[in-house]
């Protein structure tokens, strides 16, 4: 499974690896700040409404998400922020997969696919239990 590009770009030594680092870094930064912004709005709305976090919030309901956000309900923004936070690492792996496929690094592309597969198993296993 050894291939030349992988050896040539150990760490962040090659220009291709450095470019990928920068792309992934931007993705992580944007995802994190988008998540924090949504959470901050949700917390602001929660506090402004005088509600206690301990009163118990709703479980995740994808069908209600858009409606809650449009109606400026704290739950909508909080769930949106949490989903973006949890999805950002997977998006990072997907972006890495594209990068490795472009540079022909088959082993690292396979590693990326396997990571996404493990995350998919988490979703499927939890959905099946739920």
């Amino acid at each position: 499974m050894t291939n030349t590009p992988a050896r040539a770009s150990a760490g962040a030594a090659s220009p291709a690896a450095e470019r990928l680092d920068v792309v992934i870094a931007r993705l992580l930064t944007v995802g994190t700040y988008a998540s924090v912004a949504s959470l901050a709005v949700g917390v602001g709305l929660l506090l402004a409404a005088g509600r206690s976090p301990l009163e118990g919030g709703p479980a995740l309901d994808a069908g209600r998400l858009v409606g809650d956000v449009v109606a400026l309900r704290p739950e909508g923004f909080l769930w949106l922020g949490l989903i973006v936070a949890i999805a950002t690492p997977s998006a990072r792996v997907a972006a890495s997969l594209v990068g490795y496929l472009r540079t022909g690094e088959r082993t690292m592309a396979l590693v990326s696919i396997l990571i996404l597969a493990v995350i998919a198993v988490s979703v499927i296993a939890s959905a099946a239990e739920g």
């Binding site: 499974m1 050894t2 291939n3 992988a6 050896r7 770009s9 150990a10 760490g11 962040a12 030594a13 450095e18 680092d21 992934i24 870094a25 931007r26 992580l28 930064t29 998540s35 924090v36 959470l39 901050a40 949700g42 917390v43 929660l46 506090l47 509600r51 976090p53 301990l54 118990g56 995740l60 704290p74 739950e75 923004f77 909080l78 769930w79 922020g81 949490l82 936070a85 949890i86 999805a87 690492p89 990072r92 792996v93 690094e105 082993t107 690292m108 590693v111 990326s112 396997l114 990571i115 493990v118 995350i119 198993v121 988490s122 979703v123 296993a125 939890s126 959905a127 239990e129 739920g130």
Partner: protein, 274 residues
């Protein structure tokens, strides 16, 4: 409203302490939510996992931008941490609260003892890898995962350690750096600075693999997770900008006292649940 502000403030304190001492905020979030706000332990772990994802994201981006983190090594190892997190996330729902509280207390005591030990030697602190081992470096999975100035050793042991880190993260709601950094630095020969940055990069995938399980099983309350995550994020951001101005010696001792006190409370909780 007062409880919401208290939760933000408590999260900020956890994030600040964790950031100043290089531990991440996760280790204090679960005690904060269980002992401070009376949450169920599993629910607190779910919230903590989300908070550490949010907190680690921004700093992981900075580490990558500066090419301090090793993306290739991080991705390869996080395949194993993700598997561990999946296993841990499923096991967490089979264990009693009593056992989880006991495990958490054990982790707190371990961290407190580790903080009392003499710091890493000067070479390690300077970011140099440990002295070369007799065992030759070998490509891992057929790919050279090393970086400038270092090669990866004992990959299989590192992979096993990564699975353990993933299980720990999923069970206890921490980033897993307590396991990953020593494994990468001492076992695999990665320079300390790179190991720390790469561990931070890996937190997202590791924690999200198990956070998904907690969310889909209804163990994450958005009303708690939001204020806590915002607080931890703000505290960690402040900590990363002020760490160089703070005398960490007193803070370290204070933190050890807090950890031991929290461990005692966790043991009492475990016994009360019996």
């Amino acid at each position: 409203m007062a409880v919401g502000l208290l939760m933000v403030a408590g999260g900020a304190a956890a994030g600040l302490f964790g950031s100043l001492l290089g531990l991440g905020g996760g280790i204090l979030i679960v005690p904060l939510l269980t002992l401070g706000f009376g949450l169920d332990l599993r629910e607190a772990v779910g919230v903590s996992l989300v908070a550490v994802i949010v907190t680690s994201g921004a700093s992981a981006g900075v580490y990558l931008q500066r090419h301090v983190a090793n993306l290739r090594l991080g991705m390869t190892l996080e395949l194993f941490t993700a598997v561990g997190a999946l296993i841990g996330g499923l096991i967490a729902f089979l264990l009693s609260e009593q056992v989880l509280a006991g495990l958490f207390a054990a982790m707190l005591i371990y961290v407190a003892v580790a903080m009392l030990r003499p710091r890493a030697d000067a070479a390690a602190a300077a970011g140099d890898p440990p002295a070369p081992e007799a065992e030759p470096a070998a490509p891992s999975l057929g790919v050279d995962l090393g970086g400038p100035g270092y090669t990866i050793r004992r990959f299989r042991l590192g992979a096993v350690g990564s699975v353990l880190a993933g299980v720990t993260s999923a069970l206890l709601g921490v980033g897993g750096g307590l396991v990953k950094v020593p494994v990468m630095h001492l076992v695999m020969g990665v320079p300390l600075r790179t190991a720390t940055a790469t561990s931070n990069l890996m937190i997202g995938v590791t924690a999200s693999a198990s956070a998904i399980i907690y969310v889909l099983r209804g163990e994450v309350d958005p009303l708690v997770a939001g204020p806590t995550a915002i607080g931890v994020f703000l505290g960690a951001t402040l900590g990363s900008r002020t760490a160089h101005r703070v005398d960490l010696r007193i803070l370290r001792w204070l933190f050890v006292v807090v950890l031991l006190y929290t461990a005692v409370q966790m043991v009492r909780r475990a016994l009360a649940l019996a």
